[in-house]
Every structure is written in structure tokens, then in C-alpha cells.
Chain length 317, copies 2
């Protein structure tokens, strides 16, 4: 029986696991990313993790089949260079190349939303479906696309960037420079920003303000809590978010038409309260109402999705 | 050597061809669709065409391998029912089922934009590429998606409806009931409608009006001609169309990231004059400018694309 290493590089911590063929995490490490110390330091930490895992495997008389790495950025199609990583402030760093130079083991690197999509496809709500799309709603919006049971990132590694699909006109521009990106309507940042903008424009009769000392303290969790208790501004914000998520899902259906779309990430923790609003709105945006369309479900895997998905990357390539 | 039948059902004519393995059309029929006489009549004409082709093949001592049919509508995933066909006013007609009942030959039915995409993929500008997207700009906007050298229409037959991707807010609603569909910005209908709306709102200092007796006579060809001659309103309309086509293409790149995107259909006849404006605008909407993205080219096949693509449908399924 051979083992695989899955590494999940986040802005705060690096999590890694040694997985057996049944996807059990038989050995696990978590260390601070120390991103302020720069790429070379982070890279040396990743190398130490892999070396630790390798000696663990050899004590068990087992071999490592592959190393998979997930990170919040984009990787070129050869998996050599991390072109961009917002969280770590990396630009064009040769992580794949450096690690391949060091280890004689197949190494794959992918965007973390794509990795989470793989985990959902292998073990979660997307399990067993041929075509599926994972959307993660957090401070940004990421996507993972599975087509014919394989991860799909396009011909140049640019695909599955669902958060930057332009879907309307918004009162502020996206970090990417465009106006109207899905991310600026449905990320937690977007919802918070919408509420603050409304308050600054005079919508002050809201229970949100009774729960904070200053508008800086407003967060998405509070907005969702106030919405559930019937607050008007909070519901306006949640309904706007639900509308644009429904539009984003309908656009995905009009193009990819998957078997299932799974919603994950922090915002999705609001659960059925939010998802039911999206499901209510969705049919109006579907073109052919006579045909079935994909199910919309909450993702079910927790924090280990990043490690598990990364360990399976080779299989899904 | 076996033969394949390709049938292209349009609102005005039905074109059909008997093709050899080198995709030569060795026998050809074109008859009026007579759509006003209803589905049963049109179906009987299609049956006559197939019977004529079959007896032609048997005179040549050859067998028919498959029948492929393209039409401007949507077909269920089993290829049994034409769910919707705007041009022919068909709703849920069992064309596939009826033809299979009659002929013991594999029959595939697909959307005509998908069929044109297959033809471009086999013989045109998309030839040799693994992942490609065809966009047809006419009175509506259609799409054909090729992934891994196969036609991709999704899990329920709803995919590749690129014209109904929501990309913004528009001054009029789409036929489908939504606001902001790509089709309402970049179809010939959309460009004409935008110009007429501007004129009705007072933009009357335009050479377009010197070329017509009434605003009803304005068409997209005239708008493009006036734009090339420097007319301000015409250029405003063409630039708006180019902007939204660039957004539509960028959205496709952000999701599917194909090797190539081919633009076909009537509006594309404006050629490089129009395409150059789209190409100039596109980079600003691309997320990661460090990576290559797919080429944008004009489709190169003419009227026979519908017949040829239909005859190849079996191979691309």
C-alpha cells in the first residue's frame, strides 16, 4: 500500500497529511505559514514537512506515490510556477520547479478552491457525479470544476475562476480592476461593504448598529444573524447576495450544466436559511424550465478538505 | 466506405447532405421548411429526405452509418425530444423518438450553434484544438463548446447557452424573461435596438438616418457601414457591442479557458474591423495577464457548416 502527501497552504497555517489509499490521514502536521518571512522561508518549511512525511513513510516501510499542494492562487498549466497568490503575496514563484528539483516524486499544485472541489467530489456531496462545480464563498469567491470525473482548469490554468465572472454593475470595483465581478456581490467582503455603504447613505434604522460600537465592527455573521431576526437592511443585503449567487449559478448552468453545484466556505455556514433563498430565486434565471437542472447543495466537508483534496490531486488530473 | 447524413433544419430551408468519410458532400438536397404547416408536416419532409439519401446510398452499394440533425433549439440529453425551437415554434416535439422508430440508424440531434462548433472544430479555425468555444452572433447568440475534442452540452442538455449568460443591466429585457443576457447586448437585434433607442431619446445627428426612410429600416449592416465611415452613434453602438462581447469572452475564459474562441454568424461578417475592437478591449477583462489566454478568431466555414457538422455529430458525441 502506497501513501500520498496532501499539503494545504493558507495565509495563517500550513496543514499537511500523510494519507493511505482509503484516504485516512495517518500522520498530520500543522505549522504557522510565517508568510512575512517570504517565499524562500515558506518553501523551506514545505520541504521540511515533505522530508518529515517521507521518513515517517519509510519507517512504515511504505513509499510515497505523490505530493499534492493547494494554495489560494493560480498556477501555470505545467504546475511549475505559482503565478499569483493573494494571501501570501507571491508573484511568479517557481514552487513546483523547486520542489521537483528536490524530490523525485510526482508533484501537483492547484488552486485551493479546485482542491476543495476534488475533496467534495471524492467524499462529499459531489461524490459519484460526472460533472460538478464547487463554489466557495469567503472573503473572496473561488471555484472548482469537475468534468468527466476529472478536475478542469482549462487550457492555460485560467479556468474555474468563477468569482471573476462579470454579472452586473456594482457600486465599487473588484480588486482585479473590473466592475461587476460575482465576487463583489456574493463574498463576505461584498455583503459587509454593501451594508456599510447603505448605512453611510442613511439606512441607519437597523438592528445591526445596535450590536456594534462602530461600523468597522460589522461582519457578515452579524448581518446574517440580524437577517434571521427580521432586520430590514440585513435582509436586503442577504437577498441581494442570494440574487447574485442565483445569477452566478444560472450562468454556470447555461454554460457547463453540471449534475450538482456545491456551495462551501465561511458564508455557506449560514446554512439552509440562506440556501433556501437562493433555491427560490434560481428557477427564474434558468432558460429551459422544462428540463431538469443540477441540484444545489451545501458542501459537507470541513477543514480537512484541503489536505484530502491535495492528496488526491494526482488521481483527478 | 460508409456514409453519413447531415441535416440542417432552419426556419426557411432544410438543407441535407450525404457525406463520405472525407467529409465531401456527394449528394445534396435543399427544400423549403414550410414551418407554417406544423411539426408533422416538417417531420414527414425530414423522413422523405432521409429515405431519398438512403436509396441514393444503396444505389452506390454503400451503407449509412449515422444521421445527424441540427436545429435552432434545445434537445433533451437522450436526444429524443426537441424541447424548444424558437424558429419553428416547436415545443416538446418527439423528433428523435419518431425518427428512431422509423429508421434503424443511429440518430443524433443537436443545437445548430453546437453543430457549427463541431464543423469549425473538424475543418475550421478550431481544428486540432482540444478545448474550444464557438460563438455565433446573429439575431440571437448561440454557443458550441468542445472539451477534450468532444462536444459538451452538459449533464441535462442545458449547457453552451452562452447567449443567456447574464453580464450586466440592459434597458430592455431578453425574450427569455431575464434582464442582462449577453444576447441583449451583442446580437444584431440588440445593436439595432440600441441605436433606435438612442435615436428615440434624441441622438438624431447621425448619418444612419440619412440612409433610411424610417427607423424601421435600420439594420445592423447599415450601422456597421456608418461606423466604418466615422459616424458617432454607429461607433457608440459598435463599441458597446465590442465591450460586451469582450466581457462575454472573458467570462468564458474565466470559467472554461479554451485554447481558442471562434466568432461566427452574420454579425461576424463585419470582419476584422469589429474583431480588432474586441481584441483591444479583451485584456482588461482577463484576470491573470501573465498567462497566455485563448486566441480569438473569426470562424471560417460558410453555409455548409450546418450539414457537415451534423454529419459528424456521432463522432463528437
Amino acid at each position: 500500500m502506497n501513501l500520498n502527501i496532501g499539503i494545504d497552504i493558507g495565509g495563517t497555517n500550513i496543514g499537511a497529511g500523510l494519507l493511505d489509499e482509503d484516504l485516512n490521514i495517518i500522520y498530520r502536521i500543522e505549522i504557522p505559514t510565517n508568510k512575512d518571512r517570504g517565499y524562500d522561508f515558506v518553501k523551506s518549511q514545505i520541504i521540511s514537512i515533505i522530508e518529515g512525511m517521507r521518513s515517517k513513510a519509510s519507517k512504515l516501510n511504505q513509499k510515497i506515490d505523490s505530493i499534492g499542494i493547494g494554495l489560494p492562487g493560480i498556477v501555470d498549466i505545467e504546475g511549475n510556477n505559482v503565478i499569483y497568490n493573494a494571501n501570501l503575496n507571491w508573484n511568479n514563484v517557481p514552487l513546483g520547479k523547486n520542489l521537483r528539483h528536490r524530490f523525485d516524486i510526482p508533484i501537483n499544485i492547484e488552486n485551493d478552491a479546485t482542491i476543495a472541489g476534488i475533496a467534495e467530489s471524492a467524499l462529499g456531496v459531489m461524490k459519484g457525479y460526472s460533472n460538478s462545480v464547487f463554489i466557495t464563498l469567503g472573503t473572496g469567491v473561488g471555484g472548482g470544476i469537475i468534468i468527466n470525473h476529472k478536475v478542469y482548469t482549462g487550457s492555460h490554468g485560467l479556468g474555474s475562476e468563477i468569482g471573476h465572472m462579470i454579472v452586473g454593475e456594482n457600486f465599487y470595483d473588484c480588486n482585479c480592476g473590473n466592475n461587476g465581478c460575482l465576487e463583489t456581490f456574493i463574498s463576505s467582503t461584498a455583503v459587509r461593504r454593501y451594508v456599510i455603504n447603505e448605512i453611510e447613505h442613511g439606512f441607519i434604522n437597523t438592528s445591526i448598529l445596535k450590536n456594534v460600537n462602530s461600523i468597522e465592527e460589522i461582519d457578515t455573521k452579524l448581518i446574517f444573524e440580524c437577517a434571521e431576526l427580521g432586520d430590514e437592511l440585513s435582509n436586503k443585503a442577504v437577498n441581494r447576495m442570494a440574487k447574485y449567487l442565483a445569477i452566478g449559478i444560472a450562468n454556470i448552468i447555461n454554460i457547463i450544466d453540471p449534475d450538482i453545484i456545491a456551495i462551501g466556505g465561511g458564508v455557506a455556514k449560514a446554512g439552509d436559511f440562506f440556501l433556501d433563498r437562493v433555491k427560490d430565486l434560481l428557477p427564474r434565471y434558468i432558460l429551459f424550465k422544462e428540463l431538469d437542472f443540477g441540484e444545489i447543495k451545501l458542501a459537507k466537508l470541513g477543514n480537512d478538505a484541503g489536505i484530502i483534496g491535495a492528496a488526491m490531486l494526482k488521481e483527478y488530473k
